[in-house]
Symmetry: C2
Subunit: 354 residues, 2 copies
């Protein structure tokens, strides 16, 4: 399972194959997806989640839309792809990588618009495959830069899931832990369970078990108390979108975690591909925050088990904004970025552009 | 149910009657307790929880130990009571009110050691009844002082459960909300679910439903994001122990909540009877923090439903320390205490002593 890709392609069908992350760790199930509507549903329902993983999934979604298209003219085909792109873009609003992958794929289409429909179909699939491979390579580069920030014997706090399951393979923040572990450094991870969907308890714990990395699960509210006791050397998180000034949208709870790290002088590292950086937004105030259905808070897994009175109401913002002032550094595939972030982020994007 | 006491006494049996808080809100069940060992178990297993409630429960526990005693001499009786007191004291280490109630009851015994065994038995029960009545009166006084800090239309964040269920009746921090509501102020409560035991989702939501107070449930990690949006006017929490310098031990997650309130300039109020103040401790560093069994994090209710891989490990500190610098004011039965807390806390204790 360790080397199974979160997002993969079956050229025979053709179909996109996803690990169904809603059922882990109880069941390991693969889902075959053959239409763009099903891709949109899988992203929205969080069959697949994690900013890099949903970016690549969307690119495969466009490839599927292309292969399923009955359009006879280039023009009709391109119009259909624009429609599919809009559908995919609306699946989840916060992660930058989703629109980044869609925009990138559309510009590749545009650059090749002289091609025949069957060539355009092949181009879309090639682009998705390229993004998938690039994601893995990017993760491994980030992991190497990030692992240099960790010492043998370090304890780190990790929020949500940023491992193989949040990417095509390897991971962002958890990729850093993985590489440090593979280097022979002894790393202990305090895993935030990450309510409401428990990505930490369900997914990160599951990945760390398989990697053989030492960990203990904690409730999100306990992270500060472990830092107070002086037993934490770093906090590692991913990101869903980073604004030009360094403000970070990430899984709900990240802001409070960053506050505790800042208060206790524990370095707070965000690990992300440069595709997560969105220079079109001046600050976190401009980042759209998805609010998900209250049922995720009120019950475990689709109302199977109520956690609150039957008539209870809930609010469920999926992300929060961590101000740049609380971030020690960004770890990207082009290196570790330090403040002032307005400069280092834009330089990183220049360096990363092909 | 609204006027049911969390801790009450059946003089016929004799027995202590507790609402079983482990089953709420699914089941409302009363437990009859007839021995001191059963009282210890009920406190340890959190049939009853909340610092004021476990203080009064322990006093009734001593009364039960007295009534069940077969001692024929005063001396043997007093020795048995000392033993029972040690048992009760060890049930949970962090809440100040537990040892406060036990110490208070033991000194009443000592002051009356000339009494015959049957008189001592009556004295113990009278003392427990007096503490129960005093708790209710104390809560109502705190509620009045605290409600003056809230305006019509305010939204407050509340952590854990500090209502009727955490006391004999009425509540501490939630008592403030209740009184403001009874005064006709429109108050909206964002209820932290409070992992791992979900006292917010299960108990506070249940109490607010019955009181008709407007509320929405949120995950603990979301509190900061609501404060960031400017939609929160105050944070209200209780306390399990307050050191001489104003450091507060309270339910895990309180420290991170206080950091967010401080960062967003939202007033952070701790509401507690003066029995929670422990001047013998110079700072929070000296407060003993209970670590509970990992099963509370790894599964919901006694392993019925696993939240993490079967082989996962967890850490489960039940409380954390909020430094005094993050506290705006303490609301007690003798008034609202402002910094410098070393002075205002000791003055409050003098004012409160009978």
């Amino acid at each position: 399972l360790k080397d199974m890709r979160t997002v993969s392609w079956d050229p025979e069908a053709p179909a996109l194959i996803l690990i169904d992350q809603r059922l882990l760790p109880v069941e390991f199930t693969l889902i075959r997806i053959e239409t763009v509507d099903a891709v949109v549903a899988a992203i929205r329902d969080m069959v697949v989640r994690g900013a890099p993983a949903i970016g690549v999934t969307a690119a495969y979604g466009l490839a599927l839309a292309g292969l399923r298209s009955g359009a006879s003219s280039r023009q009709a085909f391109l119009a259909e792809m624009e429609q599919a792109a809009e559908l995919l873009r609306s699946a989840r609003p916060t992660a930058s990588n989703l629109s980044w992958a869609i925009d990138g794929t559309l510009s590749v289409l545009k650059a090749n618009q002289a091609q025949a429909v069957d060539e355009l179909q092949a181009t879309l699939l090639e682009e998705a495959e390229r993004l998938a491979e690039a994601d893995i390579a990017t993760n491994r580069r980030m992991a190497r830069f990030g692992a240099d920030l960790l010492e043998n014997g370090d304890t780190v706090i990790h929020h949500c899931n940023t491992g193989s399951l949040a990417t095509v393979e390897y991971g962002t923040a958890l990729g850093v832990v993985r590489w440090a572990h593979e280097q022979g450094k002894r790393i202990h991870v305090l895993v935030d369970e990450t309510r409401p969907r428990l990505q930490g308890a369900r997914l990160t714990a599951w990945e760390l078990e398989q990697l053989g990395v030492s960990y203990e699960l904690i409730v999100d509210g306990a992270a500060g108390s472990f830092m107070q006791k002086g037993s934490v050397d770093a906090v590692l998180v991913g990101a869903d979108r980073v604004a030009a000034n360094g403000d970070v949208a990430n899984k709900i709870g990240t802001y409070m975690l960053a506050l505790a790290a800042h208060d206790q002088h524990v370095p707070f590292y965000c690990v992300l591909p440069t595709s997560t950086i969105d220079l079109s937004l001046q600050s976190g105030d401009e980042i759209q925050i998805e609010e998900r259905e209250p049922g995720e808070v009120l019950s475990l897994r689709h109302n199977e088990r109520a956690l609150a009175p039957a008539t209870a109401r809930a609010r469920n913002p999926a992300f929060d904004i961590t101000p740049a002032r609380l971030v020690t550094a960004f770890v990207t595939e082009v290196g570790v970025l330090r403040p002032p972030f307005r400069d280092s982020l834009s330089q990183a994007l220049e360096k990363a552009s092909p």
